[in-house]
Symmetry: C2
Subunit: 313 residues, 2 copies
């Protein structure tokens, strides 16, 4: 099925919004792209990058006449945005989003959606630690999953159309219940981010001397955590404010397990440690086999060659 | 100063041992490389890769006539290895190692070292999640730090020689006290590994259905943790058995901080979360500026192009 929209409105044009703009354009999925954002500077940046055709600070204006509208702002901004755009939504349009939590989005946006608009929240499981309109690239969604959480009232035909849009950008698509999405993401994404932010925070609190050594010697494992903990603070604040129960549930399990491991360290229980560390290898193997990760050592990070001057020292 | 050794003996020939063999050869730092390991298969693999000149299952034989001996086995094997090689150590030789903990190495190896041998424990802060003789590469140490922890009795001239050896392989070298090394590494490496093993373990315990979804959706953050948690289980068991106090101290701080973060999530304290998530960004910036990390998004992981067939779907 060939997917095509006349006018795509992107409300928010950061990493995800700009990647959608580039991918939709590259694959010829839309005629016109309208971009709305909050700040003048961001709009100027998007314009300089030629990400769209229409640029505005008024979300309702961008939405006017659009047959596909995607919210690409932090989830905490959604309710105000929904209120602002609702009167401008075209009958027959699809309203979607890319937020990292889903039950909350149904709750705060749902009530504003007119009955003749198909509300199909979504979440592309793709991203990097960078933000803003300059961070996007057309391949971001390629080979990654996109989860859609349409309510029961949405016509199948509209869901199929949105599925086709994401597939055309290279994504695998799966539909599921919003609450289930939030539980799975709590453990694959939200708790890992919380833990990474936390360990980097622990380091930030060390005495200045030790902290500078940690930075120097970070290649021994810590730097991987700092990548995750470099993600956008506002986006992540909103994730934890809006997926609290699932996060606390998964964090509770994590802490229980950590107590067991901590005791094994304290009592010097070698066999338990080795057993634990062996079990976890299989999971990475499965992820690589599922095509969700590179098998290259160290993520394929560059290892610089030895500078010539060092060779004969 | 030009560094040269007549005979280098590597006791253990996994990721680190094989990388030393390749780097020392490439940079012309040694005449002869003798390789000893525990298992016949590993020795055969090393021979097939032409990593050395002499291959033996007898560590003492490898050490015979060597002016540089480096232990490259898991730290738990060190005491037995020290006992075995001590009588074969050449007067004037340097004995070193690459173990991830240092105070324990002084404690268990030190007593076996003859007075005319310079014992200079070391730790290259470089590695990947892969193991075995086939995992090594000559550039592994390039641009990375190597920490040496010579005792006060070691002649400066011998330390300088070992420093020169690591520099010639591309490393930056720093000498410090063994206990200090262990505390810094506890937070930069040991606790991050423990936490990563733990979160992957939490997932391994989920019901089969959820677990397969976690694998599918792992690209949202979790997969980074699985890389760290794919490291060698025996090596890491030994790290936690031999650096217990520093690990428990740093884990304690981590857990205190996590309680604060957990409460902020529970009470929905947005400003506290945002403040915490903002603070941590600076640390990554410092690490990139220090040349210890790539600035490329997502570690420069490959993003596959959309297959042609998808484009018109
Ligand atoms: N980053 C990821 O890895 C990732 C992955 C999957 C899903 N997501 C989801 O994608 C969404 C956007 O994330 P992103 O990474 O693209 O963020 P980003 O790069 O930080 O961009 C955010 C965009 O939202 C706009 N915005 C922020 N606050 C706003 C407000 N109060 N009202 C209106 N617009 C506002 C910003 O506008 P101004 O610059 O004009 O203020 C900017 O255009 C979030 O809901 C996030 O959960 C992110
Ligand atoms: N991996 C890293 O990222 C990293 C980084 C810095 C330092 N280190 C340190 O480097 C050392 C080696 O790590 P690696 O990653 O190179 O390990 P590896 O790839 O698993 O290789 C370990 C080597 O040690 C040998 N060995 C294992 N148990 C032994 C025993 N009981 N007696 C004698 N030899 C034994 C193995 O021999 P067989 O195969 O013959 O059994 C193999 O040759 C460890 O002390 C580790 O702490 C590792």
């Amino acid at each position: 099925m060939s997917v095509h929209f006349k006018k795509l409105a992107l409300i928010g044009i950061g990493l995800i919004g700009s990647s959608i703009a580039l991918a939709a354009r590259r694959h010829g999925l839309v005629d016109t792209i309208a971009i709305a954002t909050r700040r003048e500077e961001t709009l100027d940046e998007a314009r300089a990058l030629a990400l769209g055709d229409i640029y505005t600070l008024d979300a309702a204006e961008a939405v006017h006449g659009a047959d596909l509208v995607i919210l690409c702002a932090p989830v905490g901004a959604y309710e105000a945005l929904a209120k602002a755009i609702a009167p401008a939504l075209e009958p027959g349009a699809i309203l979607s989003d890319v937020g990292s939590v889903k039950a909350h989005v149904h709750k705060v946006v749902g009530p504003y959606v007119p009955p003749n608009v198909a509300f199909i929240p979504g979440h592309p499981l793709a991203g990097t630690e960078h933000s803003g309109p300059g961070a996007g690239f057309a391949e971001l969604f390629s080979g990654r999953w996109c989860v859609l959480t349409p309510g029961p009232e949405v016509p199948q035909e509209q869901t199929d159309k949105l599925v086709g849009f994401w597939r055309a950008m290279g994504s695998n698509v799966e539909c599921m219940d919003a609450a289930h999405h939030d539980m799975v993401l709590a453990i694959t994404s939200h708790v890992p981010h919380l833990v990474a932010y936390n360990i980097v925070g622990t380091v930030a609190d060390l005495e200045a001397d030790t902290k500078s050594e940690v930075i120097k010697f970070s290649a021994s494992g810590f730097r991987d955590f700092t990548r995750i903990a470099a993600s956008d603070p506002v986006m992540w604040r909103d994730v934890f404010l809006t997926n609290r129960d699932a996060v606390l549930e998964m964090l509770g399990r994590f802490l229980e397990d950590l107590s067991v491991l901590q005791r094994a360290v304290r009592t010097g229980d070698g066999p338990a440690l080795e057993e634990m560390f062996t079990r976890t290898r299989a999971i990475r193997r499965s992820i690589i086999n599922a095509g969700q990760e590179t098998a290259a050592a160290d993520f394929g990070r560059p290892h610089e060659a030895v500078p010539k001057s060092e060779e004969q020292r």
